[in-house]
C-alpha cells in the first residue's frame, strides 16, 4: 500500500497580539512596582526572630535606621534618607508630630530598622524620643528565622 504523502503546511502563528500581551504584562508590573524610596546608607543586619507579622507599607511611614557603626560616632541614625544626630532626630520628630492631633499621631507608622549588634541604650534613647513626641505606633523590622 502506498501512502500518499501529503505535504502539509504548518499554520502560521499570529503574532499580531504579541505587543498587546506584552503591554498587559508591562502595565501589571508598572502598577505593582514600588520604587524603593529610601534605603539605608549604612550596613544594617536585622535580627532574626521566630514570630513576626507581614508589614503593610503606607505612604505616611517613616523609617528609622540605627546602625552599630563603631567608627563614625555621628553616623549611626538615619531617618528616611537623612543621616542625623540624636539632637536632629528630636527636631525632625517634633516637626512631624507637632501639627498632628493625638489620635493622628497614633496612626503614623514608624519602622525601626536596627542592627542586631546595637546596644539597647541607643534604642532606648530613640524610643524615648518617639514616646515624648507621641509617635507611639512602631514596628521592629526583623528577619524571619529560617530553621
Amino acid at each position: 500500500m502506498r501512502w500518499k504523502k501529503k505535504k502539509r503546511e504548518s499554520p502560521e502563528v499570529s503574532t499580531a497580539s504579541l505587543p498587546d500581551i506584552i503591554f498587559m504584562l508591562l502595565f501589571f508590573f508598572m502598577t505593582v512596582t514600588v520604587l524603593k524610596t529610601a534605603s539605608a546608607k549604612m550596613t544594617i543586619e536585622l535580627p532574626a526572630t521566630e514570630q513576626s507579622v507581614k508589614v503593610n507599607h503606607e505612604a505616611s511611614e517613616y523609617n528609622i535606621y540605627v546602625s552599630s557603626n563603631k567608627k563614625e560616632e555621628d553616623h549611626k541614625i538615619q531617618i528616611n534618607e537623612y543621616l542625623v544626630t540624636m539632637h536632629q532626630l528630636d527636631d525632625i520628630l517634633k516637626n512631624i508630630a507637632s501639627p498632628l492631633l493625638d489620635f493622628e499621631k497614633l496612626k503614623v507608622p514608624i519602622y525601626l530598622r536596627v542592627d542586631k549588634e546595637v546596644q539597647m541604650d541607643l534604642v532606648y534613647d530613640v524610643k524615648l524620643l518617639l514616646r515624648k513626641h507621641g509617635l507611639r505606633k512602631i514596628n521592629y523590622i526583623v528577619k524571619k528565622q529560617s530553621n
Partner: protein, 180 residues
Amino acid sequence: MRKRRKMPELNAGSMADIAFLLLIFFLVVTTIAEDKGIPVILPEYYEGEPGPMAARNVLKILINGNDDVLVESILTEKDEIKDIVIDFVTNPNLDETKPLQTNKAIISIQNDVHTSYETYVQIYSNIHEAYAFLRNSMAHEIFQKEYAQLPVSEKNTVLEKYPLKLSEADPFLNATTTDL
C-alpha cells in the same frame, strides 16, 4: 488650494520590542521582597515612677549586658520564655505567685544599656508568640476559627481576656560591664 496628503504609515513592528524593553526594566526594578516586623504601641510618655503593681501579677524578665536572661531570678534560655509566659498567664495550678485572672498579667522587661538589640527583640517576639498562641487557642475554643479571621467584635472578646500588658522599665547601668 490644499493638497490632500497621505498620512505616512507608522511602523508598528518595533512596538513589541519597545514594550519588551520597558517590561524587562520593570521586572528588574520590582522588589517583591516583603518586610517582617513586630508591631508595638509604645507606652505614653510620663515623668516619674509608675504606679504600684501587685507582685503576683508581674512576671519579671531581666536581661543583663552579656545577654543573659533572668526570669523571676532564674537563669533562663530565650526559647523557654514562650512556655513560661503561657504558664504564668494561664496559671493552671492556681499558684500564689501568678495572677488569678489572665487579663491581670503584666510582663515586665528590664534590660541593661549593654544588652544587644537582637536579644531584646527575640525575647519580645517570644512574648508575642506566647500571646498569639493563647489568643489563637481561645479563638478556636469559642469561635472555631483562627484568631486572625475573627471579626472585630469577637477579636475584642479575646483581647479582653488576653491583653498584652508590657511594662518596660528604664535600662539599668550595669556597673560591672561599663567601660568608661
